[in-house]
């Protein structure tokens, strides 16, 4: 091994490479010493970065915090729409609305927010550039999921606090909370994958428009603030198959009515999660 071979050896101990470099002195710190950081460190760093940027983004906060909170407060305080039985008191309306708004939170962060930000990252070449970094693509997606999970958790805490302040008293106790989590996980995976599918196939502007349109339509058509039974029967049968509607209705069964975990809904959401993940993995384009 010659001195110059030492320099390019990634396994060479620190410092030695610089000593052996022919031009030690200014610039010797550039002596090659490549290598990826340990995977957990990369994923943690990437998750932290993605989360920071998500929380820093104004429009994103409008979508994830302001709109769901406003809807919850407004529709609870004022009797605007028919929320079914018990809709004549604030507590009754909150009992109906809170599960729907929690579902909306998942839709806003996992689907709409993620679709828009990923769509523009793709358009600006961020995904391409990261593709040339040591971070594997699956690790990037893992980091994105972690960032969605952290944001969603903050959102759920905030929205539950607002709901409690409005007099929410969810049914079901600890078992109800556990059942709600069992519903939330596959729904988040499904909506997240659908958001990535959209971001990875459409142009960024089209994603922006479509993701916002879907968000607004599903506020009203996804069982979030309007009970699905208010729709004509045939339409309601179709709508209740959508992941958001399935999630809001499922959460409502558990947290409003105190019913046991609806396994049919869990199966439906899991089906969505599997299909959407497969489609995203198949069709996502990085450039």
């Amino acid at each position: 091994m010659t001195a110059s071979e030492h320099r390019t050896d990634p396994a060479a101990p620190r410092g030695r490479g610089a000593e052996n470099a022919p031009a030690a002195g200014p610039g010797a710190e550039f002596a090659p010493r490549p290598g990826p950081a340990p995977l957990p460190r990369m994923i943690a760093a990437q998750s932290a970065l993605e989360t920071r940027m998500l929380l820093r983004h104004g429009e994103q906060l409008l979508l994830t915090v302001v709109i769901p909170t406003l809807l919850l407060v407004l529709f609870s305080a004022v009797d605007i729409i028919d929320t079914g039985d018990g809709g004549d008191t604030v507590a009754g309306r909150v009992a109906f609305l809170a599960p729907g708004i929690l579902a909306l939170a998942v839709l806003s962060t996992a689907f709409t927010g993620q679709a828009i930000s990923t769509g523009f990252e793709r358009r600006y070449g961020v995904l391409k550039r990261l593709g040339a970094s040591p971070l594997p693509r699956w690790a990037l997606l893992t980091a994105k999921s972690c960032s969605v999970a952290v944001t969603l958790l903050l959102q759920l805490v905030l929205l539950c606090a607002v709901a409690f302040a409005l007099g929410w008293s969810p049914a079901g106790g600890a078992a109800g909370v556990a059942a709600a989590l069992v519903l939330l996980v596959p729904a988040t995976v499904a909506l997240s994958a659908l958001g990535l599918l959209m971001a990875g196939t459409l142009r960024a502007e089209a994603t922006l428009a479509a993701a916002n349109l879907v968000f607004i339509l599903l506020i009203f058509g996804g069982g979030v603030v309007v009970p699905l039974e208010n729709f004509p029967d045939a339409v309601a049968r179709g709508l209740e198959l959508l992941p958001v509607a399935a999630l809001s209705e499922g959460l409502r069964e558990v947290l409003q009515q105190g019913a046991p975990l609806p396994w049919g809904t869990v199966a439906l959401l899991t089906g969505w999660a599997v299909a959407a993940t497969a489609a995203a993995a198949r069709f996502f384009r990085w450039e």
Partner: protein, 307 residues
């Protein structure tokens, strides 16, 4: 294994639909050297570099980067190379130094991002979101991101496009430091002075092929030097020609402006000044010019504007 070149491309072909962007291109880049891929816009420079980086798959030919196939062994290759894209590649809302620190964290033994940021003048705009950085600041950040992981090989796609003179020189200094430290640098440029200033090896690319390759000196060699001076009109050119090295000749156009062309640079200058001294001519505004890479480039690719 270690003595193999950092980049070895032979017969690369890349088509986009009916257009052949790269048409049998050969390129070799050595470790500890700067290789410039020089060519007009649309010559296939970026396609070639992006194939080496693993962003595109070749339609033909063989591509070896650090002994690996970028299309197949991307995962093993990526941590060892640094990439500077021509534009973009950074989150619009991320702050300049935040992105640099983050990228450092993805590597096992990165450079100190603070020192690197200092060196490239990124600290003054360290808290500015990427989309509000000037074009030059974005370029410098992209360069910093490419080298922070201490790669063996860096690809720089038009690294000084749009930079002011100070930033350009800071970039050149950094590239020289990389070479001195044993890093292989492959850069694309359409700036002749950049290639002449930095490169150990230049590959001139046009319409998807390498039309000339070698050191800047070798590419510029074999051409006549040009010496100009001013003096009183109507000097005896026949006498001057006789005093010049073989093959060189003098012309007067317009009156009082003399142009001497011929091989042999220093000897040519000595012959002209000796003749002037002997004939009591005070030569004014003497200038000499070697054949530049720009002349070579224009000779090879033609002087017409491209469609």
């Amino acid at each position: 294994m270690r003595s193999e070149p950092a980049v070895a491309v032979t017969g690369l072909v890349k088509r986009y639909g009916d257009t052949t962007a790269v048409d049998g291109l050969d390129l070799t880049a050595e470790r500890g050297a700067v290789t410039a891929v020089l060519g007009p816009n649309g010559a296939g420079k970026t396609t070639t570099v992006e194939t080496c980086e693993g962003f595109r798959t070749a339609d033909g030919g063989d591509v070896r980067v650090l002994g690996l196939d970028p299309a197949r062994d991307g995962a093993a290759l990526r941590p060892r190379i640094g990439v500077m894209l021509q534009s973009g590649g950074v989150y619009p809302t991320v702050r300049a130094m935040e992105m640099l620190r983050h990228t450092a964290r993805l590597h096992a033994h990165p450079l100190d991002p603070e020192e690197l940021g200092e060196r490239l003048g990124l600290h003054s705009c360290g808290r500015t979101p990427y989309r509000r950085l000037s074009g030059g600041q974005q370029q410098r950040l992209a360069l910093a991101l490419a080298v922070v992981g201490r790669p063996e090989l860096v690809f720089l796609d038009e690294p000084t496009a749009g930079l002011d003179p100070q930033a350009r020189h800071a970039t050149w200094e950094l590239i020289r430091a990389l070479r001195a430290a044993g890093v292989a640098v492959v850069l694309t440029t359409h700036l002749m002075d950049e290639a002449e200033e930095l490169a150990d090896h230049v590959a001139v690319v046009d319409v998807g092929r390498v039309i000339a390759a070698g050191s800047p000196a070798a590419l510029c060699g074999g051409h006549d030097d040009v010496l100009r001076f001013e003096g009183r009109p109507g000097l005896d050119l026949a006498s001057l020609d006789a005093a010049l090295p073989p093959g060189a000749r003098a012309e007067e156009s317009p009156a009082g402006h003399y142009c001497v062309t011929g091989a042999g640079g220093p000897a040519l200058l000595a012959a002209v000044t000796a003749w002037c001294a002997a004939h009591d001519v005070l030569a004014d505004r003497i200038t000499t010019r070697r054949h530049s890479l720009e002349d070579v480039f224009l000779d090879l690719t033609g002087r017409k504007l491209r469609p």
